[in-house]
Amino acid sequence: MTIYLDNNATTQVDERVLAAMLPYLTEFYGNPSSMHRFGGQVAKAVQTAREQLADLIGALPSEIIFTSCGTEGNNAAIRSALATFPDRKHIITTQVEHACVLNLCKTLEKQGYRVTYLSVDSRGMLDLMELEAALTGDTAVVSTMYANNETGVIFPVEQIGALVKSYGALFHVDAVQAVGKIPIHLQNSTIDFLTLSGHKFHAPKGVGALFVRRGVRFRPLLIGGHQERNRRGGTENVAGIVGLGQAALLAQQHLAQMQSVQALRDHLEASVLRTIPDTVVNGQGSPRLPNTTNIGFKYIEGEAILLLLDREGICASSGSACTSDSLEPSHVLRAMGLPYSVLHGSIRFSLSRYTTEAEVEQLLAVLPGIVAQLRALSPFNAADQGWIEERTQAVVPK
């Protein structure tokens, strides 16, 4: 049996989502741009999905642009904002963004833009004073996450947006991890652009959307035909879009159920802290997504924990450098200034509405043994800490 606790990476497609999609892969295969009735019925399904998605985030259907993924949405929003203000050359983002925002900003720096990367504190939270100090009349766009993918920490987006608006800049929010997990109402929001991705809330991979507030100028990233009201060229991924709409409908119905997901997450956290010494929850004390916990197991290394969990059929994720080609551990945990003894051994468990109590209990049954096994191997175990070297490094987005 596989126990899947890596839902911030991707989620299983809800069978009702799949059922809604299948006819659009078989029977209704028309092009929604076609003038005949065969295309028309498909265009209607796309419109229904647009309405379903708009309902989930409190937007108007006309404010939704379907995209291929979160990366596309984030790139499109930031580039559009820069094109809107050709004379403004300053971007503000944070040190803990997803690679698709950080790497885009690095590229833009090479093209002459100035980028401010806001820091976070040890709880993963932004300092609004730092944001205010960074804002100038030259700032074109501020791009922040709604909730962090690694720690689940939720940023105060409306407070951020209020500051951004006072400087006349545009405000983009990467809400890929937040949509479907917490209520989002964009109608009276300060957010100009909001990115979401279907596969984070039980739709398939390869479909997402970008909210663009009515009245906000938008410059397309993909230049093509008249699709998406000339805002995103390319024939629509109809089945994916239908699936995204259905997933949005289900997510709205299930939002209330997220309380039980949170209760399960809280039980997991409390039990781990109680039964395993030298263990900390990263981001604890900040508002967090109900499904996410990021736990640092001191003196051991994340990849080794993951492999032993995997042998037990449990899938999780690590911020450890050893799980990637990078030699540096998670940029998010480093930005939080966590000691190396914590951040090399941090594991993210992310739950979904499908996660059961029995699955969490199974994790709790094996995790203490795994941690003890690796600590017994470690020269840094609690009994012998004479060799710990907590060298710190400045965190500079590379």
Binding site: Y299, I300, E301, G302, E303, A304, L307, L308, D310, R311, S320, A321, C322, D325, S326, L327, E328, P329, Y340, S341, H344, A376, L377, S378, P379, F380, W387, I388, E389, E390, R391, T392, Q393, A394, V396, K398
Partner: protein
């Protein structure tokens, strides 16, 4: 997830010789330790050796390791390899010997084998009372301050492993993998490490053949096999046989194991293709 050999996984799941060797005060034996790495670097190994003074032999070895799967497996492998050796024999062990014992390591994990070799050297030097230069305490001599790597250590690893690119240097000693400000210095050091003139074609093909032979037992254990078909400049053409020919992960075997090993053992520029 990394493509680890069966041997790596076996020694990770069932590590041998973990723990500490205490000095029992036996006059005919000495206990020595070698420590490498730090919690900041994400890998650390403390190697314990029990040495029979009269014979200069390692009679027992144990390890304590903080690190990933391959770090734990490399440490365990090292302790198996050194038991029964004289200290001089043990000093001849290279990081590549450790990686070979494990049936290969992903290139990005070669630093785990380097850590093992360095801990062994430290433990033996400690026993012999030879002071190793402590570059970590002298920031001025460090090339990579993020991971505490000196130029002297870089040159040693580059030469022993015939490394030719900064990316390989990162995989073997992590240097350059932090802030990246030392990458140009690493390039200069690489350029200064002139290797002897290249192999003749015959030497190259013989080395490729020998390396493939050393891999065959691991493939045969999984019902597969490999045979050299031809060598065209730096293209090595092989025939994958048995389970390797039909296995869904045959590309991993081809690139992750065979190509990687040939690059380590023969020439970094080699590419491997199945015919």
């Amino acid at each position: 997830m990394w493509n680890y050999s069966e041997k790596v996984l076996e020694l990770f799941y069932h590590p041998r010789n973990q723990g500490v060797i205490e000095d029992q005060g036996e006059p005919e034996y000495a206990v020595s330790r070698g420590e490498v790495g730090s919690i900041a670097c994400g890998d650390a190994l403390r190697l314990h050796l029990k040495i029979e003074i009269a014979s200069d032999k390692i009679v027992d070895a144990k390890f304590q390791t903080f690190g990933c799967t391959s770090a734990i497996a490399s440490s365990s492998a090292l302790t198996e390899m050194v038991k029964g050796l004289t200290l001089d024999e043990a000093l001849a062990i290279t990081n590549r010997d450790i990686a070979n014992y494990l049936g290969g390591l992903p290139e990005q994990k070669m630093h785990c084998s380097v850590m093992g070799q360095e801990a062994l050297e430290k433990a033996i030097y400690n026993y012999r009372g030879i002071a190793l230069p402590e570059h970590e305490e002298d920031e001025g001599s460090l090339v990579c301050t993020c991971f505490g790597v000196s130029g002297e250590r870089l040159r040693k690893v580059i030469k022993e492993n015939r490394l030719t690119t900064a990316e390989q240097v990162m995989s073997y000693v992590k240097a350059g993998g932090g802030c990246g400000s030392c990458l140009s210095v690493i390039d200069d050091i690489l350029a200064s490490c002139h290797f002897p003139a290249g192999m003749t074609n015959l030497q190259k093909i013989n080395k490729i053949q020998t390396t493939l032979e050393s891999l065959r037992p691991y493939l045969q254990a999984d019902g597969g096999d490999v045979e050299l078909f031809d060598v065209e400049n730096d293209r090595v053409l092989v025939i994958l046989k048995g389970a390797c020919g039909s296995c869904a992960s045959s590309l991993d075997t081809l690139k992750g194991l065979i190509e990687e090993r040939l690059r380590q053992e023969v020439l970094a520029s080699l590419t491997v293709e199945a015919v």
